[in-house]
Symmetry: C2
Subunit: 379 residues, 2 copies
Amino acid sequence: MSARPPAEPGMAFDDIDTPALIIDLDRFEANIAFMADRAKALGVRLRPHAKTHKSTIIAAKQVAAGAVGLCCQKVGEAEILVEGGIRDVLVSNEVWGRRKLARLAALARHARIGVCVDDAKNVADLSQAATRADATLNVLVELDVGAGRCGVRTAGEALALAKAIDAAPGLTFGGLQAYQGSAQHKRSVQEREALIGAAAELTGETQKRLKDAGLECGIVGGAGTGTFELEGKTGIWNELQAGSYIFMDADYAKNHKADGRPVDTFGHALFVIATVMSKPAPGRAVVDAGHKALGNDSGFPDVWGLDGATYGRPSDEHGAIDLTNCKTEVSAGDRLLLVPGHCDPTVNLYDWYVGVRGMHTPDARVECVWPVSARGALT
Amino acid sequence: MSARPPAEPGMAFDDIDTPALIIDLDRFEANIAFMADRAKALGVRLRPHAKTHKSTIIAAKQVAAGAVGLCCQKVGEAEILVEGGIRDVLVSNEVWGRRKLARLAALARHARIGVCVDDAKNVADLSQAATRADATLNVLVELDVGAGRCGVRTAGEALALAKAIDAAPGLTFGGLQAYQGSAQHKRSVQEREALIGAAAELTGETQKRLKDAGLECGIVGGAGTGTFELEGKTGIWNELQAGSYIFMDADYAKNHKADGRPVDTFGHALFVIATVMSKPAPGRAVVDAGHKALGNDSGFPDVWGLDGATYGRPSDEHGAIDLTNCKTEVSAGDRLLLVPGHCDPTVNLYDWYVGVRGMHTPDARVECVWPVSARGALT
């Protein structure tokens, strides 16, 4: 039931049907290589987050560039990654429910599978599922290092859970999950440093308490595209879980470097191409990409290469382009490139990636059309 | 590449995997019947909007209850509706681009296909596509009746376009598309009446100008779940395009009746069931449904049947439930029902509907699992 692909390999850029999800392949490959280099330079392992791309093809490219495996948020994503050949998958999230746990344990007979916990009852459930499947699950304790979402909040609680995991049949204690999600989009380096500093303190203290109790953390995982340099240099985290770096989105591009200028480490490699379907008034155009084509939760998309044009007022299948301050003429039938405000939920709206070589040049051509293989893997 | 179904027919309600999209079948059937009765009583045709449900099974139920056909927003949705047996489909939207127009014209050889325009160049493109396919497209002129989205804004412009359609090979003039989208969610009856009154004035005047020029409007279409009674009684619109009435969402339920109380004509028939995956602190729970499981653009979901609990702070795969003012005990592993803030983009995130009979009773069981057949039909 996948929607039909909006393009075919070899097609000219202007023939891609809209709205479509475009990868600038040159930029995307550079982003993958740059992060692989940075992880190596920092001396930490890279386990990129598949929640961003939901693609087995992209996961394989990350592993080929040196990643030790992938992480993801859902059992369904883990199933698709393993089916696609990834041998080491961490579900960086809590999993509850008899059916889901049975699926997770079944998967652990075919790959190395990790999962996170913050509750003793959940440890018991995981142990039961793993023993029933005659499998071993690698279980990490999630620490709330400041994001205020899931996770235990003290070293003492983490120690109690780690001991329970260590003692439970079918489970091995895998380490700590310590992701400071709320630091990722803080605009100034100072804010990000302060939050990651506090996260490092709790994570380091917890790791020490565990070590004193004879429990080694195989994985101390966390970090995202906004902060990975900070976690990477602490010596505490040994696995980086960044995801968005491959694509970058409009929101991440609003973060600042130490000199106050926008970050430019990674470049925008993900776009939505849209068509102007109506030009009802001067200064206003309507494109065929609305809420069902764009994840707008972190802000609206930027309009690429059209100075003064802004996207707004989306409805389900429409977006308004305000051209009041734009000097370029825009007509119905024209095509515009949008930089999604938030890449992860945008990707999840599409069945296909259209990979373009020579993007932003007159020779731009479709090189590949890849399925978003784990799109909609909600359970 | 559809994600696996979260349930099977016959399964107990508590065995449905989460997050999942649930239809309360009793309430859903009552909503369909009630709208069919209202259209009959108002003396207007019903052409429900498939953008809400994207389901050929639901479309067939609407036709069986008396609908004359369906409308939709995308060529891809029209293709799936026709494939599912619907014989009369109106794309209530402008369509641009060679490949899309060729698909639309090809479809018109197998069903009655309508489409909207607000631009003379688009009329010429439609004519070329229709003649190439040796097909006939029924073309409506879209009027901007106050929403400020697509559409021409005067009777004179509409007349010029209608004449162009009437003269173009392969096209028949089909009437007017006059949807006042911005009136749908105005909370008071007075606001909705004022906006629909203004829309009626322009629509009626335009219809008269067309009639004087010898152009009959086969369809005068518009209206949504928030205002259909108003359009229906004007005598101007002859087709209602409401969509959300089958499910209702949290936002529509905030509209008021004339007496100031919330509307209660239709009942909530669409839910997302979620699991509490973490209970990290008193007064706070985390559920496994975030931006990838809920369309949050019109507000966050309501938590059903749990007084004082509110949903907030979603991330991609998480939602926080604030329990500060809730007297019921909530534990990790518990399951909660959410009423989506906006049903259309929520439905588009799922591959499957889980139809439940006896919802909100101890005997609740899964009766059917239906594909969201046009999910992701973006082009």
